[in-house]
């Protein structure tokens, strides 16, 4: 999820498909109003237009069980680490 509008979100998905040569098997959501980004306290303190890269694992009860905050803009938590956390919870 990002603050991109529908068109930019679609472009980002198309770009990723071309790059990886495969479908993306999870929804990529647009929060152009940034209400959900604010609700998850993920608004970038230096640029309110953008979300900070935060990853959450939410359990079946709707409770946040794990969180990772990427400090540097370019950093992302590798998917393998998220899967590892999912297996441990």
């Amino acid at each position: 999820m990002s603050s991109d509008d529908l068109a930019d979100t679609r472009r980002a998905v198309d770009r990723a498909k071309r790059r990886f040569g495969a479908d993306i098997r999870f929804p990529v959501l647009s929060d152009a109003e940034r209400l959900t980004i604010a609700a998850y306290n993920a608004t970038d303190p230096f640029n309110a237009q953008l979300a900070r890269p935060i990853t959450y694992i939410i359990d079946e009860r709707g409770v946040i069980r794990w969180k990772f905050l990427d400090i540097r803009v370019g950093d992302r938590i590798p998917s393998a680490e998220i899967i590892n956390e999912l297996e441990q919870l």
Partner: protein, 223 residues
């Protein structure tokens, strides 16, 4: 603060409950001792209704005017046996985490017509609703600061029987407030959302709750 005290003619093997109400709300609840004496300390000056109740006996209401720093003695009361058969409900409330009994929890019993009776739990965590109409459905509503609300459907209770109920209240987690942009703390409830993907199809977190775990990734977008 003032004090209330009084005496009830004791009834063999029957607990007598004394409740202090102000404007229909119970503010204190005690049981009379073995000799039928009761005392309630720390009552703010004002007018109160005192309800004296025991299983199978007619409830007596008294009015009391409490004066600061004084003891207000109430008339001695003798409860009369009820002519009609009644049912009772007794419950016990504890904290889910600490397992300790919860005192002074407001418990409301609501009948199908919407009539509300309320009591407070005692130091032992117990509460009683005496002299209910038998074979009638009720809803028990429990609301207490710092705990999640509970509503419990009470099945009809046969005449002369006492239904028993034990419940644990779930503390609402006091979450730390993280600085802006640092996200929500682990243990917090994930806020629901309903957002479109690039094709306009809506996805809600609620669709996954109870079914699957969700990995939610915020990214910066293509700015």
């Amino acid at each position: 603060m003032g004090r209330l005290n009084g005496q009830v003619e004791k009834i063999e093997a029957t607990q007598i409950n004394v409740r202090v109400l102000q404007d229909g709300k119970v503010i204190a609840s005690v049981a009379a001792d073995a000799d039928g004496n009761y005392q309630i300390d720390g009552v703010a000056p004002g007018t109160y209704t005192i309800e004296i109740a025991a299983k199978g006996y007619e409830t007596v209401s008294l009015t009391a005017w409490v004066i600061a720093d004084q003891s207000t003695p109430l008339d001695r009361v003798a409860l009369q046996a009820l002519a009609v058969p009644v049912a009772h409900l007794r419950g016990f409330l504890a904290d889910r985490v600490t397992k300790q009994p919860l005192e002074n929890v407001r418990v409301q019993l609501i009948d199908d017509a919407g009539n509300v009776r309320e009591v407070l739990t005692k130091a032992t965590g117990s509460f009683e609703f005496e002299n209910l109409q038998p074979d009638q459905r009720f809803t028990l509503a429990i609301e207490h600061d710092g705990y999640e609300k509970q509503e419990i459907a009470i099945e009809p209770i046969p005449a002369t029987e006492t239904a028993k109920l034990t419940r644990e209240l779930v503390p609402i987690q006091q979450m730390e407030q993280l600085p802006i942009g640092d996200g929500l703390p682990v243990g917090a409830k994930a806020p629901d959302f309903s957002l479109p993907d690039g094709d306009g199809q809506l996805y809600s977190l609620a669709d996954y709750i109870g079914q699957k775990r969700v990995v939610l990734v915020f990214y910066r977008g293509s700015w």
